[in-house]
């Protein structure tokens, strides 16, 4: 009986142990990636790796990902053949600008670049039908570039438009890296911010040529551009972006426009116009001074010097691409 018991006990232990031995190994492939394929290494991917990812730690995404595109926009993936010209332009006119040896020995961008650059073929239009300079549903740590399919490095207007958006977005990144006194800046034109593009809709046709540049409509209200009206952050970003893409002479002309009142034969109305122009000019120069000091004290780069190098680079770039 004892032997039988021992035999049964041993058999039970053996079965118990074997019963626990049924675990299967995990699949080496992620279920999330089913249906997708490892991207083939192409000339373009090698170029991106060598020019963006390795030296600056920036990932470039030109494949469609619904989650990164703003809802309601008409964004779609860019033409592959347009990706490199756009990236080359951005590298020459933005990365090489801030990576100039004059600024922190060429190490200014270290740890300060966006993580990813997303490229789209289509426009970045909001609900009012206005093309925006940045993705309002994202943060400045990611750079979003639109209209890639329309880009032509020989067309100065398209190069200008591309760089307006890039400089605008990187300016917002700088505002995150080097905080500015928002309350003090907001105080200067606090009654003028719209936080919506609705006001721009009737202006699109009227100011077609200056819609993304220095705008008379904006100057006469103490701003650089129409997009400055959107928020204090946009206002600062627009001052930086416009400064880097316009000559000092063009900026001075904008300042002149700010202090030039409208004309009316009625002295009471004219007096009102004079007061408005005075206020617009005061706001224009106060904000300009604020941003210059912010760059000098916080970013530790003289904005005027950056503007000079930027304009020089732009001139050379356009000449080389003719």
């Amino acid at each position: 009986m004892k032997k039988i018991s021992r035999f049964l006990l041993s058999l039970f232990c053996l079965m118990f142990t074997m019963g626990c031995n049924g675990e299967e190994e995990l699949s080496p492939h992620s279920v999330i990636d089913e249906g997708t394929f490892p991207q083939q290494e192409t000339e373009l991917s090698k170029w991106i790796q060598a020019n963006y990812t390795t030296p600056y730690g920036i990932d470039v995404n030109y494949r469609w990902n619904k989650n990164t595109a703003p809802q309601g926009s008409y964004a779609f993936p860019p033409s592959i053949e347009k990706v490199r010209p756009v990236l080359e332009t951005i590298k020459t006119l933005w990365i090489e600008l801030y990576a100039n040896p004059e600024f922190k020995g060429g190490r200014f961008l270290q740890g300060r670049t966006p993580i990813t650059i997303h490229l789209y073929g289509g426009r970045n239009t909001d609900i009012n039908g206005v093309d925006l300079l940045s993705n309002t549903q994202s943060t400045p740590i990611e750079l979003h570039v639109y209209n890639v399919n329309d880009f032509d490095p020989k067309d100065s207007k398209k190069v200008f438009l591309l760089m307006r958006s890039v400089h605008h977005q990187y300016a917002k990144r700088l505002l995150e890296l080097f905080p500015f006194d928002r309350d003090a800046f907001l105080f200067i034109s606090r009654h003028r911010y719209t936080y919506s593009t609705k006001f721009m809709v009737p202006l699109i046709g009227e100011f077609k040529d200056s819609f993304y540049g220095l705008s008379e409509y904006a100057n006469m209200r103490g701003f650089y551009t129409l997009h400055s009206f959107l928020s204090p952050e946009d206002d600062v970003a627009e001052i930086i972006s416009s400064t880097l893409l316009h000559t000092p002479k063009e900026i001075r002309q904008a300042e002149e426009r700010a202090k030039t009142p409208d004309f009316d034969t009625d002295p009471i109305v004219q007096n009102q116009y004079n007061k408005e122009a005075e206020a617009a000019h005061r706001e224009f120069v106060t904000k300009q001074d604020f941003v210059n000091k912010y760059f000098e004290k916080e970013v530790k780069i003289p904005l005027r010097r950056l503007q000079f190098i930027s304009m020089k680079k732009m001139r050379n770039y356009l000449v080389q691409n003719q």
Partner: protein, 334 residues
């Protein structure tokens, strides 16, 4: 000792009773993965590729009641709906896709290679991840998208899709049909293009809906006479009936009604979505080209899936029950 054996036996039973019975063979993740794999395999194993017919912006309430009065200023181009496009697609197992489209003579011939993914989002979906012809429909006019949600495969092996653009039904029509042979592949887009352009170049086309000699609807308003050209950019056509002519100015009738629909060229003729909807049964979608006219003769069939009688085109279902209800598009006078 018998007590010890009893305890051991009871313990064995207890352990055996703890073993879970696997009622469902697969986990939800495995089922989703299987859907992805299955769709991917279907797409990549079609030797001659697929034809996608894509109407991104249909409206089943627009110009679909022949009794509704259409005002003098309610039938301009901007009031029209939108038609469809054809895309010839060859999916490769390594994630590449070759695409051609019926947009122009060049896009019909020139294959554009891009990348695609089949993945699981809100449901199993195809995403066209690099730029291709289909992305040209992503704009204010067409409202196209890059991601297509798989809905079902019908008994004829066609794959039906939808997008997340609309909550309502019947706002888009996306079907992938497997190409049967190399010969069909070589001719399908050029035939579709030829049929579409023939329709677009017709001078004052007339739509007649009849059963035998009894005419239910016949358009008579000369659109070309007024505007010079039919609306080709939207691929939409409105057939108008001048109910009360204007005795003074012929081109501005006092009262009109009509039927309209978006269209796309097909290998045999034209397909209209959401179709000319004369009443709940007389809905004309698929027309076959017969020399210089397009004809849609309705026959009745029983749909075993939806369990309903359906009125469909005779050239697609030759064994259907004859109804004698015919719609014809013919060329009018100059």
């Amino acid at each position: 000792m018998p007590k010890f054996l009893s305890i051991l036996f009871a313990f064995s039973l207890l352990i055996a009773s703890c073993q879970e019975e696997n009622i469902f063979e697969q986990t939800p993740t495995e089922r989703a993965t299987e859907n992805v794999k299955s769709l991917h395999q279907q797409l990549t194993t079609a030797p001659h590729g697929w034809l996608m017919t894509y109407f991104p912006k249909t409206d089943s309430l627009l110009f679909t009641n022949p009794n509704v009065h259409i005002g003098e200023f309610e039938h301009r181009d901007q009031d029209y709906g939108y038609g469809g496009h054809n895309f010839l697609m060859s999916f490769k197992p390594e994630g590449l896709i070759e695409m051609q489209s019926d947009e122009s003579l060049q896009t019909m011939v020139e294959k554009k290679t891009g990348e695609f993914e089949v993945n699981q989002n809100s449901s199993t979906q195809i995403s066209f991840t690099t730029f291709n012809y289909i992305h040209r429909l992503i704009n204010e006019q067409w409202n196209g998208v890059s991601d297509f949600l798989y809905v079902r495969t019908d008994p004829e092996g066609r794959l039906w899709f939808r997008t997340s653009s609309y909550l309502e039904v019947a706002r888009e029509y996306i079907v992938l049909r497997k190409i049967a042979s190399q010969e069909e592949r070589d001719t399908i887009l050029s035939n579709a293009y030829r049929n579409r352009t023939m329709f677009e170049e017709m001078k004052n086309p007339i739509l007649t809906i009849r059963q035998g000699d009894k005419i239910f609807f016949r358009s008579n308003y000369k659109i070309k006479h007024v505007r010079g050209k039919i609306s080709q950019s939207n691929r939409y056509y409105l057939f108008l009936f001048n109910k009360t002519p204007n005795p003074i100015i012929e081109r501005y009738p006092l009262e009109m009604n009509g039927l309209g629909s978006g269209y796309v060229g097909t290998e045999k003729g034209l397909t209209f979505m959401t179709g000319f909807r004369y009443n709940k049964n007389y809905i004309f979608h698929d027309f076959i080209r017969q020399e210089n006219k397009f004809v849609c003769e309705l026959v009745q069939i029983y749909d075993p899936i939806e369990r309903v009688e359906k009125w469909v085109s005779r050239h697609l279902y030759p064994h259907g029950r004859i109804t004698g209800v015919i719609a014809e598009i013919t060329e009018g006078d100059q």
